[in-house]
Amino acid sequence: MVERGRYRPVVWVLFVVATLAAVVVCLSLGSVRVPLPDAAREVGRFLTGRPAFDKTVWSIVVTVRFPRVLVAGLMGASLSVSGCAMQGLLKNPLADGTTLGISSGAGLGAVIAIAFGIQIPALPFAGTTIMAAAFSFLSLLVILTLAYQIDRSLSSNTIILLGIIFSMFIASLSSIIITFAGEKAGTILFWTMGSLASTTFANAALLFFSLLVFGGILLSMRRELNAFAIGEENALHVGVDVKRTKLLVLISVSALTGICVSVGGTIGFVGLVTPHMVRYLVGPNHLRLMPAVLFGGAIFLMLSDLAARTLFSPRELPIGVVTSLIGAVIFVNIIVAAMRKVK
């Protein structure tokens, strides 16, 4: 098969093994080191509905680390698959889930929630999450309405320009609020840099369902994304319903990004850099690239989170800082390697 030029089935086995290995390592390492077999045993008991074997190990591994590792993995997968879809759709290697400005909108929701102490009566800790999710949805509505007003064909340039303008506008609103936020400014700043501390199984479940629905939609559009990545005009000529594809991809990416931001704050670089890393391994064909990116993103964010909580333990780094640091270095390496390859 020609299409499998750079593809080997063993790559998939490696992706699965690497993902599972990352999960186990992340469960085992931390401020308290738990031996791998002990961590695996407690998680095994948890998954099969049995009680704890060792209560201390259980509370570290199952209660604290497992939801956090799950959230990191699911969030990494969501952000990366979003970034990959946007890079294909817009035929732009610098695009990701934040290009449309949705994450800035979600960020503003969170900033308002923290600054004004907004809480939801039934869910006392979820005020920030719910405000962020609501604002990401509002942002999508605003951006799509504006885009349709300006350019009914939703051209790539319109989308990118609107995203930039919208993000800047929202950033200035956030800055105004932060200026007057007083002692809450620190909390806001930490949140905007992203953190997966105190994430719960409920967060993981929310991410899982959003990935199932919206990630599923994106994965079902792999052929269309291939056509867009070759060229939008070409996509139209080979029979792709260009408008419908754009709308579905933009809505799905916005939903995924909005939910991720609402759970873990703004985590940069994941959606941008993972697709490039994975494209380097499996090639640009979205039929392979999109599923591979799910694994790649999960591994990248789980390991980044591990670094965030262990490098300067007991002090924890904001995960967004870690992803940007690691991402930038890897990104430069990929670009250099890719350029050498072309030459």
Binding site: G5, A229, E233, H237, G239
Partner: protein, 266 residues
Amino acid sequence: MSGMLDISGVTVRYGDLVLVDDVRFSVEEGEWLMICGPNGAGKSTLVSAIAQSAPYTGEVLFEGEPLRQMRPRQIARRIGVLAQSNVALYAFTVGEVVRLGRYAHRAGFFGGRGGRRGDPEPGGPGYDDEAVVREAIERTGLVPCERQSILTLSGGELQRTFLAQVFAQDPRVLILDEPTNHLDLPHQKQTFELISEWLRQPGKAVVSVTHDLNLVKAYGSRVLLMNRAHIVAGGAPDEALSPENLQSVYGMDVHAWMQKLLSHWS
């Protein structure tokens, strides 16, 4: 009018500007219709409208059915387009780009193969995607670079890749917008020969915008001469490209210019 493709009263506006004004003509099976005229005459806009990628008023009928009401996949099974140039960004292989031509023949939203293997009847219910792709790659001589990244191709090879894609798409009408504009002479010749060979299959037609009047005369079965959004002459190449018509459209003695150019070769 009842050709394979009927264009009736097609008008394209851009704001107050009329780019194509009430154009009507039809295209018959087996015909290579050449559209010529000076820059800004509206040729490219007209073919974009026929390919349903530019908004227009009027009607474009394919075998009596309005293309406007068809879904993108249905249109792509009837009309194929080879654009002037394509810019590659990601390292797709030649094979992957060609295979995308089968998109419109694949089933439904969730993809899946368009047909079973080994059915000998092209276009029939068991239409074999892979065989069509293979044939398109072989026909265009791309077998040696099938696994090559499109980022490493020359302009000519890239254009041939997209020609193979449109062959794999297997449309009834092939629309070309100055397909050999930036190609050297051997590639120009090769492209025109490949298209002319493709046209020999039953039930096909070609509509192309071509600047080079030599190519128009050599390959065209009929010519439409456009100027300022209108068709000013139409018919067999010799008839439509008469010295008077060319003089009025291009504002110069084209015949004398061609003779002068040719005299340098003697």
